[in-house]
Amino acid sequence: MVKPKFMEGPLKGNFASAYAAMDADVDVITAYPITPQTTVVEKLSELVGEEEFTERQHVEYVRMESEHSVGAGLVGASYAGARTFTATAGQGLLYMTEMVHWMTGARLPPVVAIQTRGITGPGWNIWADYGDILSLRDSGIMIQFIASHQEIYDSILQGFNITEHPDVFLPLFPAYGGFVLSHTAKPVKRIPWEEAQKFVRPKTPEWPHVWVDGERPIMSNALIMPQNFYTEFRIKIHEAQMNAIPVIKDTMAEFEKTFGRGYGNGLVVPYKCDDAEVLLLGYGGNALQAEDAVDKAREQGYKAGALRLRTYRPFPKEDLLHYIKKIPYVAVMERALAFGSPTGGAVSTDIMAICQRDPKARNAHIVPFIGGLGGRDVFLDEQIDQIKILYELKEKGEVPDRKYKMWDTFWTGLITGDKKVEVENQEYFGDI
């Protein structure tokens, strides 16, 4: 057996994605480069030729000519029963959209890693912003927000246990901040092959609901008339999302038991929530930083807690309500803008909806914050200010004003003219 070139040490987030896909024993990878995903496909190109992998695995790696084709290729390979993986971001994900819906409609189980990136319109932007993945909020895919390098690896490895679960059969899109995680290096541990294989779901010759066999021919995804079960098949997708909630929890519990590390219950990750009076609720890297903000604020006497939303679809209603009922002052921080929506944020809107339907959470105060768009930094001070705002609300019974509050939403980091903003001449403009 060849000694692996890398087992543990500092690793770029995107390389963690590539190793995880290989260690999950994927069959087919289709890929097309886009910043900040490129290093995933570059690394994979290397790995598929490295002896460590070639001596034990057969991976078909196809360098496609577009993301639409990447999506279609995954659908085709997945129909054949293959375990499939790809990664994309921003415009690439938008271009793949039609095929993403096809994946869920056909109930196929690929795992697709997303290096979130700003959507273009105002101008090219390649930096972290979850607007890309959230544009597929209602497509039926499972969405997870990943906050650390090790978590990237672990989530992708867990991914197939969730997507290929017979109660689920939906694709999973673990998303992490472009550049913030994709291009920085932090310690990552790979799981040795044999152990990984014991954990990862065993392969089957075909899926239970779609197969390729000349003796047992089927036609898949034919035209369905309105009166003839189209509605029911759509509801089945919703049902699968609901089924995924316990599956995600079980998978995380088993992972933690086996490898000694985990991320909450797989759905949400609480931090110092036991005695907290106010709650910072967020996702991705910002939510991890919120834990620092909580520590800082506690030094100043504010009893804050942080809750990281790790799985967004399916929506972990019960788990969120559990904390919101205990801590009814909640700042929801989002790194994506849902134009024209009630709060400007998809997550805060959802949270308000679940509170409304629960008598014990109906009076909770949900305060939306939006910031960090297109890669703008969200500073620790800004998060501490969010905690202060919650305390003002708690004491005065009213959401306080700030210059950066508009339409009842706080726009964290908004340029209000108070500070001088210098537009530097940057050396690196990035590849679009």
């Binding site: 069959d27 087919v28 289709t30 057969h58 078909e60 196809v62 360098r63 496609m64 000519e65 577009s66 639409h68 084709s69 990447v70 999506g71 279609a72 290729g73 995954l74 659908v75 085709g76 390979a77 997945s78 129909y79 054949a80 029963g81 293959a82 499939t84 039609e98 095929m99 096809w102 010759p205 075909e206 390729v212 066999d213 000349g214 003796e215 021919p217 089927i218 036609m219 898949s220 995804n221 034919a222 035209l223 369905i224 008339m225 003839n228 079960f229």
Partner: protein
């Protein structure tokens, strides 16, 4: 290769089997129906078809019934070539690499929205057979213009006749240097059958462009489908050929039609009495159509001249 005769087909139980089951919803006299029938007789049941949005997606049956007696997957309009790519690679990993993987696309799905995926798959030399059945418009959505609609043709989006010319897809694919490119017509089912027999034995990207007349779209009586398909070939408008590893051979009737004088006059085909969709074709358009036909043959000449030169 000796040409298969209909008697050989009758003598062989394999090729007697009907894979595209009767009682499907193709229109009377549908050329696509014939193409399905004869392609599948050659390919057999261990064939997977990936079919993008088109008449094919509809005539193969509403859920939960289907006409194809072989694995058949509907696909998004632009995604067929890539899905077939994925399917082939997926089957290889599942020990089913011997299946024929086909794209079965209309002219719209091929010459327009699907051309990127087609070109990508051809450039990568994917081990698939890409079939374009060409009914010269978007028939499924009610007969709108495609890149493959002939000059002068009336469709619902070209009510005054199409201004531009038919896109020469077989030559575009040939420019990708793939192992096999062929044109076929449902007017010559044995030639079509033979081409599929040959194609299925070749490895790599294979492209077969089938001319498949459509009675309601072209506006001619259903019983004339074969005559229409033959006439397109006899006038030289759609030459039948194969390009194997860059070597072009003319087949069937087209063998004799390299000599322009042996072709039937274009006016017999592009004529409103022949097909309702040609009601806008006048003298001028007919001349332009002649020019366009000559251009198609020039491409063939280029191949023949190069081959000649290489032989010497």
């Amino acid at each position: 290769m000796a040409k298969t005769k209909i008697k050989d087909i009758i003598a062989n139980p394999e090729s007697r089997r009907e894979y595209f089951l009767p009682g499907n919803s193709t229109c009377q006299g549908c050329g696509l129906d014939m193409a399905f029938r004869w392609a599948m007789k050659a390919l057999g049941q261990n064939t997977v078809m990936i079919s993008p949005a088109s008449c094919s997606n509809v005539v193969t049956g509403l859920w939960p019934k289907s006409a194809p007696d072989w694995p058949y997957f509907n696909m998004a309009f632009a995604g067929a070539a890539a899905a077939a790519t994925g399917m082939k690679h997926g089957l290889v990993t599942k020990g089913k690499g011997d299946y024929n993987v086909l794209v079965w696309a209309g002219d719209g799905g091929t010459t327009d929205i699907g051309i990127q995926g087609l070109s990508g798959a051809a450039e990568r030399n994917e081990d698939i057979i890409y079939v374009c059945y060409d009914n010269e418009a978007y028939q499924n959505t009610g007969n709108q213009r495609s890149s493959s609609t002939p000059h002068g043709g009336v469709t619902t989006t070209t009510p005054y006749g199409k201004e531009r010319y038919k896109k020469n897809l077989p030559m575009i694919v040939a420019a990708h240097n793939v192992p096999y490119v062929a044109t076929a017509s449902v007017g010559d089912p044995m030639d079509l059958y033979d081409k599929f027999m040959k194609a299925k034995k070749i490895k790599g990207f294979r492209y077969i462009h089938i001319l498949a007349p459509c009675p309601p779209g072209w506006r001619y009586p259903a019983e004339e489908t074969i005559q229409q398909a033959k006439m397109i070939v006899d006038t030289g408008v759609f030459p039948l050929f194969e390009i194997e590893d860059g070597n072009l051979t003319l087949n069937g009737k087209s063998k004799r039609l390299h000599d322009k004088n042996k072709r039937k006059p274009l006016g017999e085909y592009f004529n409103k009495k022949n097909q309702g969709r040609f009601k806008m074709v006048d003298e001028k358009i007919l001349e332009e159509l002649q020019m366009d036909t000559d251009r198609w043959w020039k491409w063939i000449d280029r191949f023949l001249v190069i081959q000649d030169y290489e032989e010497k």
